[in-house]
């Protein structure tokens, strides 16, 4: 069991800035995120899209924002637990015990939930029996490409993931690339490579069509796709790869006894505490009158929440408001001399 001052759930921009606001007050935090890296929606949904409303930064991408936030919190040597989802939150007197699906346990007087709209999961295929084949002959990502050798692979999707894996796996497997419309979206170079391989007969492209059914017993044997003109074609398939992006699922958060409003957690707007003492919510996941789902609002929310976190983590110390420009304490914590 790891003891800390604050457990932060979510490594998006708001979770990262929470580390900063806690860190300059001398509080230690750990950060847990279901993704394999920091950035949250900024990295998963729009890494290349410019953001224009971060104060004093006229323009930056989601990726740049994440990189800069990580740089800003470097002095605090925070421990990140990626690829882990918080499953359980339990009260233990004045502390909270947090357990992840990887069986890591933490205890802290404070939790800040900066979980966006929940944890990211791949968008799944909904046709009959799809679930039955998941992990055996239906996959939403490629972890080990050796398992995709010498197979008949049907790939669904029209974006970068679908195109890149079609190219890569075509080196040692027979690929059918299936998309709902004729246009693919990908880097021009990738698109011309795909065209070339199609002409050489190494990749077969089926558009505009969608998955109609999966046939098989223990393993997938074939799939049927339906074209826009209602024509149906059966394709021999050992493995299905589907790339329809990620969706956000609230998951276990809904079961922690917090007052919820649709998919958001109700907080007060003085310190962003929930109905449970010591559990705070900030960023897209919190709601209060007038709430705006902006990154800058999340920054404000964690700044205020961090003050209450301090009071709970250091009940015998007096909280003193300080400026980074003049406080020797803060400058020491930032490693500035």
């Amino acid at each position: 069991m790891t003891k800390t001052d604050v457990v932060i759930i979510g490594a998006g921009p708001v979770g990262l800035f929470a580390v900063h606001q806690l860190g300059i007050k001398g509080l230690k935090a750990v950060v847990i995120d279901n993704l394999d890296k920091a950035g949250g929606q900024c990295i998963e949904l729009y890494p290349d899209k410019p953001i224009y409303d971060i104060p004093a930064i006229p323009e930056c991408t989601g990726e740049e924002l994440t990189k800069n936030l990580l740089e800003q919190i470097k002095p605090f040597n925070t421990k990140f637990f990626y690829n882990e989802r918080v499953d359980e939150v339990k009260q233990d007197n004045d502390n909270w015990i947090v357990k992840t699906n990887n069986n890591n346990k933490f205890t802290a007087p404070n939790i800040i939930i900066a979980g966006g709209v929940g944890s990211f999961e791949p968008r799944k295929i909904l046709v009959k029996d799809a679930e039955k084949y998941e992990g055996k002959s239906l996959f939403y990502s490629v972890k080990n490409k050796d398992e995709f050798k010498n197979k008949n692979i049907s790939i669904f999707g029209g974006g970068d993931s679908a195109l890149d894996w079609a190219l890569e796996l075509s080196k040692f497997s027979k690929i059918t690339l299936i998309h709902r419309r004729n246009e693919f979206r990908g880097a021009p170079h990738t698109l011309s490579e795909i065209k070339k391989l199609e002409n050489e007969g190494k990749i077969s492209i089926k558009t505009p069509c969608k998955l109609e059914s999966i046939e098989g017993d223990k393993n997938v044997e074939s799939i049927s796709i339906k074209f826009d003109d209602e024509k149906i074609e059966k394709i021999r398939t050992d493995t299905i790869l589907s790339f329809f992006g990620l969706i956000m699922k609230l998951g276990p958060i809904a079961e922690w006894g917090l007052n919820m409003n649709k998919k958001t957690i109700e907080v007060n707007s003085e310190n962003f505490e929930t109905n449970k003492k010591g559990i705070f919510a900030a960023g897209d996941i919190c709601s209060y009158p007038g709430k705006l789902k902006l990154i800058l609002s999340g920054f404000h929310e964690v700044a205020l929440a961090s003050v209450e976190c301090f009071k709970r983590a250091r009940p015998n110390e007096k909280y003193r408001f300080e400026f980074t420009t003049s406080s020797k304490n803060i400058q020491n914590r930032l490693g500035k001399k």
Partner: protein, 106 residues
């Protein structure tokens, strides 16, 4: 104010007055219309405000830009008349617009 009708997959219909300038998604969220999730809040990043636009209205709405069409690829069961409701801005011209919400958004 313009009248927007939302019909769910079970054919339940709700007509509400939406302020011009708001999006069809915002109209739904503010009036507790079920069938539209809008997880990303309207940043065209999630495709969970996906709707089917009634044929006669489809061509009256400004065409979808490329980023929206790309995002519709991710929606469940996209069709020819698919749009993201966060990109349809309510105006007098769209008074009477009818959209159908899908069975599932994710």
């Amino acid at each position: 104010m313009s009248k927007i009708t939302y019909i769910d997959y079970q054919d339940n219909s709700k007509t509400i007055e939406v302020e011009n300038g708001l999006t069809v998604m915002e109209g739904a969220i503010q009036n507790d219309i079920s069938g539209i999730d809008a997880d990303c809040g309207g940043s065209m990043a999630c495709a969970t405000c996906h709707v089917y636009v009634e044929e006669k209205w489809f061509n009256k709405i400004p065409k979808a830009e490329e980023a929206e069409v790309d995002m519709i690829d991710m929606a469940i069961e996209p069709k020819k008349n698919s749009r993201l409701s966060c990109q349809i801005i309510v105006s007098d011209e769209l008074d009477g617009l009818t959209v159908m919400t899908p069975k599932k958004q994710s």
